[in-house]
């Protein structure tokens, strides 16, 4: 409300933000230190701010309890002829602590969802923005209406559908609804609107085919939008606890969020173990985020600004 910001008000602002920032770091700090506390410290009723003696006991429990194969590559579509309706594994990795497998599952799920979403949305968004054809408005209206739909709404039909397609309890059951969710198409369409028609016309006159035009002309122009979408999809599928909860059931198929939620429900008393699990779930992705911060933020940036 001040006219020109004074030095003093800037300083106050800085301090306020610093305090809020501390609050934001607190959960992570608590998780990471808690993972190394002894049972006594973690259960203490007065906060123990720093582990008095660092222990690996929680990590040993986390890594020791449940086991699962490191990875399984199954024969595509084998669930349709296998005896029990589950995919047949062709290659199975060494047995490792289940937490590691959960991490691999989560990364695979988020990356696959991200790539598929970006690819399909880029093509569709461009088509809706620049192509003129019958039914275009109808499809677009449908997309806008379904865009903000929470997945809980279609919970039961989706479970039934996944089971008849034999996708239940596979990663496909989590990934495909994310890909089908039309927010990405909407976003890319908004970007592609700004591609000048003349450029497309010029490409056509030069004799470029549809795919070539898309590759060389359209894609570079919507790239920032795709970047924004990639990050949004990655993060939201990483955190999409709900779909994971209802679609995945066997230990080897869980994601890391599910794994921790399960630990929490099972061992309300073993807080140290839960902290170790939470640390294991969050630290790697935070490190990735810090390293790639520049690209992360750059991706989103231009995206939304030009939109």
């Amino acid at each position: 409300m001040l006219g020109q910001k004074s030095k003093a008000s800037k300083a106050i602002e800085f301090i306020v933000i610093l305090i809020i920032a501390l609050l934001f770091t607190f959960p992570l700090y608590w998780i990471v230190t808690g993972a190394f506390k002894t049972a006594k410290e973690v259960n203490s009723t007065t906060p123990v701010w720093w582990p008095y003696e660092w222990t690996m006991a929680n990590w040993e429990k986390l890594m020791g309890k449940l086991k699962a194969p490191l990875f399984e590559i199954s024969i595509p579509f084998s669930q349709y002829w296998s005896e029990d309706g589950a995919p047949i594994a062709a290659v199975t990795g060494a047995t490792v602590p289940a937490a590691i497998r959960w991490m691999i599952n989560t990364v695979f799920m988020a990356v696959a969802a991200m790539l598929l979403t970006c690819l399909t949305s880029a093509l569709a968004g461009y088509s809706l923005a620049k192509k003129r054809f019958v039914g275009r408005n109808l499809i677009f209206t449908l997309i806008v209406c379904a865009m903000a739909l929470p997945k809980q709404v279609i919970l039961i039909p989706l479970i039934r559908e996944m089971s008849s397609l034999k996708f239940y309890n596979t990663m496909a059951a989590v990934i495909f609804p994310i890909v089908g969710w039309p927010f990405g198409v909407f976003l890319i369409k908004q970007f592609a609107e700004s591609i000048p028609g003349e450029i497309l016309e010029a490409a056509r006159i030069d004799g470029a085919g549809e795919l070539k035009t898309f590759n060389t002309v359209v894609f570079p122009m919507i790239k920032p939008g795709v970047g924004a979408l990639a990050i949004f999809t990655f993060i939201s599928s990483w955190n999409d606890y709900f779909m994971q909860l209802i679609m995945l059931s066997s230990t080897k198929n869980l994601t890391i969020s599910l794994g921790i939620a399960k630990m929490q429900a099972e061992n309300a008393t073993d807080y140290g173990l839960i902290m170790a699990g939470a640390a294991f779930a969050s630290v790697p992705i935070i490190v990735v985020f810090i390293i790639f911060q520049k690209y992360f933020t750059k991706g989103i940036t231009m995206g939304a600004v030009k939109g």
Binding site: A39, K40, N43, S44, T45, K65, L66, K67, E83, D84, G85, A86, I156, I159, R160, M162, S163, S164, Y168, N169, L245, I246, M247, S249, S250, T251, A261, K262, Q264, A265, E266, N267, A268, T269, D270, Y271
Partner: protein
């Protein structure tokens, strides 16, 4: 050279195919288990399952459920045609929910084997619905409660307790709790009602205080609005020493009890007393002694809620798997040696009088013997087999929340009974 390699490769493939074709197709079944003692501990389970595979050639894949989302997981799996072959839990789920729902295989033939004759009659009755058996029980317990012995001693409240039989009358219970409250100045216990976890504890407390019942003897109607239960709830509602906490469930309450923040836990049993996750079993985190107790009642004679756990078989349309699952049940419930191991892993008690010495020579032998002598005889009516069980559990904790917030006890219990009876009537 290349040709040579190609021939070797081809030979290998043929050989491996041959091996593949000649091997007996190994039977595989899946077992989902709720956290029942060490039946949730991967190490214990791997050993048990390896023995079973060696004996029968049937491979068992075990999945571990929890009480928060386990039911949802089974329900979605049933909806997704991906239910397991075997499931381990109590009759309220296996019989009344999935058995009545038409998902379970008939296990009546497993009751015709000679060993089955030894199963206690009350348990047999609980494992069937309209004459069809859906569950074979493995282990059981009577849920009790626990107090912080050292704090009660310091507050001079032990004088109100019959230490030998671990019983107290309601009158003495009130005196004891008030004494502890006066000594610590903190709420002594809390009626947890943030969800359905561990609700047997709150039910047992309310029913026992003035000798009320939860259902009628025929298990067709709920009776939580009877004068005895209303009196009990009114006592709890008006008592400062005991709070209602809708922010926690039994798991949190147990943790608070172990941390010394609460001095009574309503949700206790043999498995809790022998739990060594956080330190020495039988002691709180700061080393106070945990004393197991019967629930207080007017005449000092408690009726404890039973816990029954056993196996049910989902009928997924494959008779071979159903057979293999029955093989599993026979092995763990009726084989003289294996049943001992299986029950020991559950850290509960056998369901047949002729299974003896389960905990002989183990570290927990004393506690378990004490438990069977003092608490098991007080096992009350197993009313969990009333229809509409799963749904009424939600009504129960919601009712406790309303009473805790100051709602009129008679009106709220009436509302509970009305809703629960509607569920029971289907």
């Amino acid at each position: 050279m290349k040709k040579f390699l190609a021939i070797i490769l081809a030979l290998c493939m043929v050989a491996s195919l041959g091996v593949f074709a000649s091997a007996e197709p190994a039977k595989e079944i899946t077992l989902w288990t709720y956290p029942i003692g060490k039946w949730v501990d991967a190490e214990t389970m791997d050993a048990l399952m390896a023995d079973f595979e060696a004996a029968t050639g049937i491979k068992v894949t075990v999945e571990y459920l929890d009480y928060t989302s386990g039911d949802d997981q089974v329900n979605t799996a049933l909806e997704g045609n991906a239910a397991p072959d075997l499931i381990m839990e109590g009759p309220e789920r296996l019989v009344m929910k999935w058995g009545v729902g038409g998902y379970m295989a008939d296990l009546s033939d497993l009751y015709e084997i000679p060993e089955a004759a030894g199963v206690y009659d009350s348990l047999k009755k609980a494992c069937q619905y309209e004459g069809t058996y859906y569950e074979v029980p493995l282990c059981m317990v009577a849920h009790n409660m626990a107090i912080n012995y050292d704090v009660f001693e310091a507050a001079d409240a032990l004088q109100y307790i019959d230490l030998e039989n671990r019983t107290w009358t309601t009158e003495n219970f009130i005196k004891a709790v008030d004494a502890v409250y006066a000594y610590t100045g903190m709420p002594v216990a809390t009626v947890y009602c943030g969800g359905q976890g561990g609700d047997q504890g709150t039910r047992a407390l309310v029913n026992n205080l003035y000798n009320g019942t939860y259902t009628n003897p025929e298990h067709t109607e709920y009776t939580a609005n009877s004068p005895e239960n209303v009196k009990a709830l009114e006592l709890l509602q008006s008592w400062d020493a005991i709070t209602f906490d809708p922010g926690i469930v039994a798991g949190d309450e147990i943790q608070l009890f172990r941390q010394g923040m609460l001095n009574i836990s309503w949700c206790w049993n043999a498995s809790q007393q022998t739990n060594a996750d956080n330190g020495e079993p039988g002691f709180t985190n700061d080393g106070s002694r945990i004393l197991m107790m019967n629930f207080p009642s007017e005449d000092g004679k408690a009726e404890l809620c039973g816990g029954i756990w056993g196996f049910g078989v989902f009928d997924n349309g494959n008779p071979d798997k159903v057979e293999a699952a029955k093989e599993f049940i026979k092995y763990f419930c009726y084989d003289a040696d294996e049943v001992v191991k299986a029950v020991r892993a559950s850290s509960f008690f056998p369901v047949r009088a002729d299974v003896q010495g389960v905990f002989e020579g183990t570290a927990t032998e004393d506690i378990m013997n004490e438990y069977s002598a003092i608490f098991l005889p007080n096992l009350g009516d197993y009313y969990n087999v009333i229809p509409g069980w799963a749904g009424q559990r939600t009504e129960w904790w919601n009712m406790l929340q309303r009473i805790g917030a100051g709602g009129d006890v008679q009106a709220e219990t009436n509302a509970f009974v009305e809703a629960a009876n509607a569920l029971a009537a289907g």
